[in-house]
Symmetry: D2
């Protein structure tokens, strides 16, 4: 085998990240991957945490680094992992976020209706795979959970995958919410394989508990911070307005690639398989990033439609809508009342109150799926469920989906 020349990349979170030569280095250099430099990991969260400007690019490299450590740990525990499996696992984790679009999760299903970043990641991996003559076959199988040794899939996508172990540490580091940090290094040292699944040695139980709580803290304190929700919903309002105006035949300038996605309404069927159309969509999608979106919003700020221009100005100048978060749905009366006030405030020109006044829900499901839970190996070598072993979380309080209701409206009409 040819000598592998490592490229070393500096990372404030993990120190030095070594990128193996060959396929992996090649993928890192690929324009599809370089694009992730222009997509912030936390989208508009920097409106609340100005330090959180880190990109999906760094996060993906960080996850790559952790995958390397995990494989090293498993090999030390006598789990046999071939060179091909190692490379495939590294490729899969490197590419796991390649389908993210502008503002990450916030606009996830908006550019291509109802399609999440994972489906787009898969499409892009398949397109890449054509260029690499099938060299990504195993990586894609691992990503999809189709490979017989399921623990590779678990390392890529599960409750304690390398994705989460990187993003929790990284988001905590960059936001400055230090108590959201988790002991990724320690958790990785505790990983093991049992019946082809990824498991955790029992002495890692407190680290896992802490990990779950840290994730929860980050969830409500950072990812779903109400000001962040308000900002994200404002952008969604803008896109609705743009599409409504386009439907009415109004000309809406934008950067070319944003224009393409505003004028087309692609859906799941358009991107499931590798087809000439899906390739074209993917190609355009791979030109879409935070810059394109913000430049377009800036253009819309100058548009003659005063709803569009006002909403856009609000994003650019960070003049957000007021927001309230509640455990229960908001009272219909209250919303009606606010609606009247909003109409007064916005005047007849702002007929479209809907763009300014809306309610909805956020929930932590995305972060605590009911899906396969963490498995623990106890001292006797038996497999046990985390919730069985943990003295703290025996009531499934953690896995429970928490939903909160939000209500947004212009600040001028805040009654309290």
């Amino acid at each position: 085998m040819e000598l592998i020349r490592n490229k070393i990349i500096n990372d404030p979170v993990h120190g030095f990240i070594s990128v193996p030569g060959g396929l992996i280095y090649n993928l890192v250099e690929h324009p599809f991957f370089q694009r992730l430099r222009y997509i912030k990991q936390l989208g508009l969260t920097e409106f609340v945490y100005p330090g959180a400007t880190h990109s999906r690019f760094q996060h993906s490299l960080g996850a790559l680094h952790l995958m390397g450590l995990a494989i090293q740990t498993l090999r030390q525990k006598s789990i046999d992992i071939s060179f091909e499996e190692e490379e495939a696992a590294l490729a899969a984790i490197l590419l796991h976020d390649i389908g993210h679009g502008p503002f990450s999760h916030a606009l996830e299903h908006i550019f291509i209706n109802g399609v999440g970043h994972e489906e787009i990641s898969l499409l892009i991996m398949r397109i890449l795979n054509e260029g690499y003559n099938g060299h990504l076959d195993l990586a894609i199988d691992m990503f999809l959970g189709n490979y017989s040794r399921q623990f590779f899939h678990d390392l890529i996508s599960s409750q304690i995958d390398m994705d989460r172990l990187d993003y929790l540490v990284r988001d905590s580091f960059y936001s400055g919410v230090i108590e959201g940090s988790v002991g990724s290094g320690r958790i990785i040292k505790m990983l093991n394989v049992f019946d082809n699944r990824l498991v955790v040695d029992i002495k890692g139980i407190y680290s896992i508990e802490n990990f779950l709580i840290a994730r929860r803290l980050m969830y409500w304190q950072v990812y779903m911070h109400k000001t962040v929700v308000s900002a994200e919903r404002l952008v969604i309002s803008i896109i609705s307005r743009v599409r409504d105006l386009i439907r009415e035949g109004v000309d809406i300038p934008a950067t070319p690639v944003v224009k393409y996605f505003m004028e087309n309404n692609f859906g799941p069927d358009d991107v499931t398989e590798v087809t000439p159309l899906s390739k074209k969509i993917a190609e355009r999608f791979l030109s879409l990033d935070d810059n394109e979106m913000l430049s377009s919003v800036r253009m819309w700020k100058e548009h003659s439609d005063i709803v569009l221009s006002d909403l856009s100005r609000r994003v650019i100048e960070r003049d957000l809508l007021a927001i309230e978060l509640n455990n229960d749905p908001f009272d219909k009366k209250r919303i009606d009342q606010l609606s009247i006030l909003a109409k007064d405030l916005l005047g007849s020109d702002y007929g479209a109150t809907d763009y300014y006044l809306f309610t909805g829900t956020v929930s932590n499901r995305a972060y605590a799926p009911s899906a396969p839970s963490v498995k623990i190996i106890d001292k006797e070598g038996n497999l046990r469920k985390f919730t069985e072993v943990s003295e703290l979380f025996d009531h499934r309080s953690l896995s429970q989906k928490i939903t909160k209701y939000f209500l947004c409206y212009p600040k001028g009409i805040r009654s309290d």
Copy 2:
């Protein structure tokens, strides 16, 4: 008022700590306080976490620093705090640990039977107070909870006092168990006063949850790590043996101050009030530290009693007893069996199997007292219990006392 010259002390945890001039500076310079340099915060924990060599001295300065921040925060929230109150609160937190003896918690009730460090701290504060002509009256009242504005007591001693906010961060920092860190700064910013009690603004709820979990993690991963428990019990065995031998009339050399406490058996009645005797005991106690203890153990290592010398050698060389931790009591049969094996191993000279083979319990009560729980102020300004507000901890899973059983025996007879 005279100009206050601050002394600045470098601290790896908090950066710079400013010590106010006057009384506080004076207390820091006092030999009673300087002694804390020689008492490690975590006693024998460095047997497992070699980085954890930090002293009670630094911790007390750290708690002083956080008290300063807390007072600043409360003043910004328009809580009126006088100069005298500030100084008293600072003095009380500075002195809260002054009654700690060698190896901190491990030997807490051993040198003076059944007396905890808090009672001794109180005695020493009272003795100091005589020297300061009553200038510590208010500090002592706050420490005891006798001052009308109870929130000062809460800052010194409660679920979220400045003691804990420092030690969790510090112990995590020095042990390298980074995931045990808590957001002390953020929690302090969330503090408030309601009905004269210390409360937390509701948006601090996730930080409090995280704090409780981090404490729990530190509890089992660091403070009650089984190797630490084994080391501590070994030292307790040594002291039992020393006292037993003294009772039998055997001469046991030791450093003078250790000898004093080995030969006397003081109890609660001797130290409750400031009396000539309690003053004498306190004076000696204030010469007792980790060095004295370790030097004495080294002398005992050379003693002709082979039980004492072997146990002492084990501490010095870190050749500890095997230990098992269990959720249930150990089987009597197993213990009897081990007892036979131990007798075989130790031979007739080691008649005293009791010093080598013992069981007992550890629990997290010290860290999660049933005492007054954290109070939260909600958005409407109502006082609520933390467990009511937290979606996670409504089942009181946290406040529940967890007891584990340990079993120690010489490594040679481990059956598995």
Copy 3:
């Protein structure tokens, strides 16, 4: 005086930053200041250090924070500072970078020919000052060095100003080049005032030495890293090509604000005074940021001019030109030879070899100006030059300007 409500902002570098209410809070919320969110502190440096995605916005808040600490330190040393002076100093440091454009230093003199960010900052401050009815007069005087108490100017702009004390720590933190970190906290504690100038107490001498060396390390390892220089020069090449094409009458699409600056060639005379024209230029400039620039480059990537499209593609895909750094000028012969090779490689279409093959110099002047050096107060209270006191730097080795020559060319023709 009305009660000041502080806004607290989380910062991974300094912890919590308190923004005083009133003028300062108002400036932070101002769209002119919010724009700095979209200008990366280190421009294209993230091509080498992916972590370095931090913005001028955070840096300016960080410098604000340090100014607050410096003022607190000076007051503790009995330097009288009025509320007005404090607010003005805070405003001046907050706004010191407000005139930065896209990609920070790299394109500094390009958008408005020969005009640096400081002149533009001044123009914008003056425009703001009109809106604030002269409330920024004192801040502007301090910024310009026109205020009698010169030490305020020194805090804003000198060898050891709050700008540098923040950016060195911040750039080191985000790039992961930890050894570039400086002891900002310690240096600030050592600040003093003598004869109305900012000075450093002599016991800070080693911190200053370390600061100068750290800056030097950051200079060559980060700011002038050869790959960063290569990327920056590529962007300058692109802009030259765009302007050349516009001059030839070719239509060059771009986002509106980039188009405005590409089609106009403003110079120093246009922006020196507050005039209707300079106000218009400033207004447009305040819509210019990294996003606009990158979106425009992406449009240019699709342009029919193959030089422009290739150069643009190279930036977007990070397919940079090869670069060499040398202490001496490059040999003319070598350049000629490369020129022939480049023509071969680029073919007839790429006639414009100049955009691909060029040489130039970088120097550390910007970071080590010959300007007023650090002043030290010795133990006897005498003012001394830093270079007199330092045992290390008596040969002025540090103040010496170091120039390096660079040579850029397409990677395909690298001979070695």
Copy 4:
């Protein structure tokens, strides 16, 4: 070969340290090595930097860790290193400090007259080697520089050895003097071998410059901080007094092992070779640590000799002598004057003014030896001296030995 079971140790500085099984793990468990837990890395420095309580034990493990990284880096650069060489290099760095006694450098030549810790380390390694049947032969050769591949010696002892790369980072971390930190990781990545010597790739030049400056800062700000010097000299005064009294026939109690060294005056001849005497001395020396010393000082505090008791009290209570540091020798007149004042203050009982009033020098020689300097490999693969390549340090300003004069005297007679 038997499977190597790694022990993982938590370290706040490096994260996780893996200790290879077999010889190395055995050495770590050895009582000789465990003793280093009780010797603080920085002795009395904690009198100034309370956080600096870290031990030689951790430092030695840290250096072991870095040696592992260095070997990994060199292997990646195709330097062939055998398993035996790896183990020997690890053993040598692990044991390099094993000959340190109480208070580290301060009392280095005092317990055994004129013998440094390196000679004692060598003696102990040789004694260990007997027990390991010559298994440490290669490690000892490397330590002494007798092994043909000199770069191993350079990794153990040179300007940029693993010892320094650990202690600078660690001392900076624990003291909180963060600007003293160096980029150990980056420097190690830059290491290479040329002509059997350790060299640094030229792109590491700024890291080396920074390393040298950081060391210098630590030297004057921490290691030679004047209060630290004062404390150390006080301890030396105490030992002089003890030995003087013993010589006069006065009985001086102490812990047994301290007594042994106070009553004997061993010198270089007694410990050069492995002999029955040197083995006995070593055995006792290996029971000597900070605890023994401090417990003895505490006993001396109660001694009837008032000079001894007062000096001892001063250490225990941190009531140090005043100290001045100067670039030039102190004026004889001034010393005479102080001498008269001291006699007045101390009274007739304190006849022995010499223990309270003394002058001497400190220099940074120990930290910047003239010995072999750092070698650099330039881009053309040529070997060059660091001072030739560095634009900053061409005047040998760094290698120059700096000597400072100190003067200690009781605080009561300070004239200023």
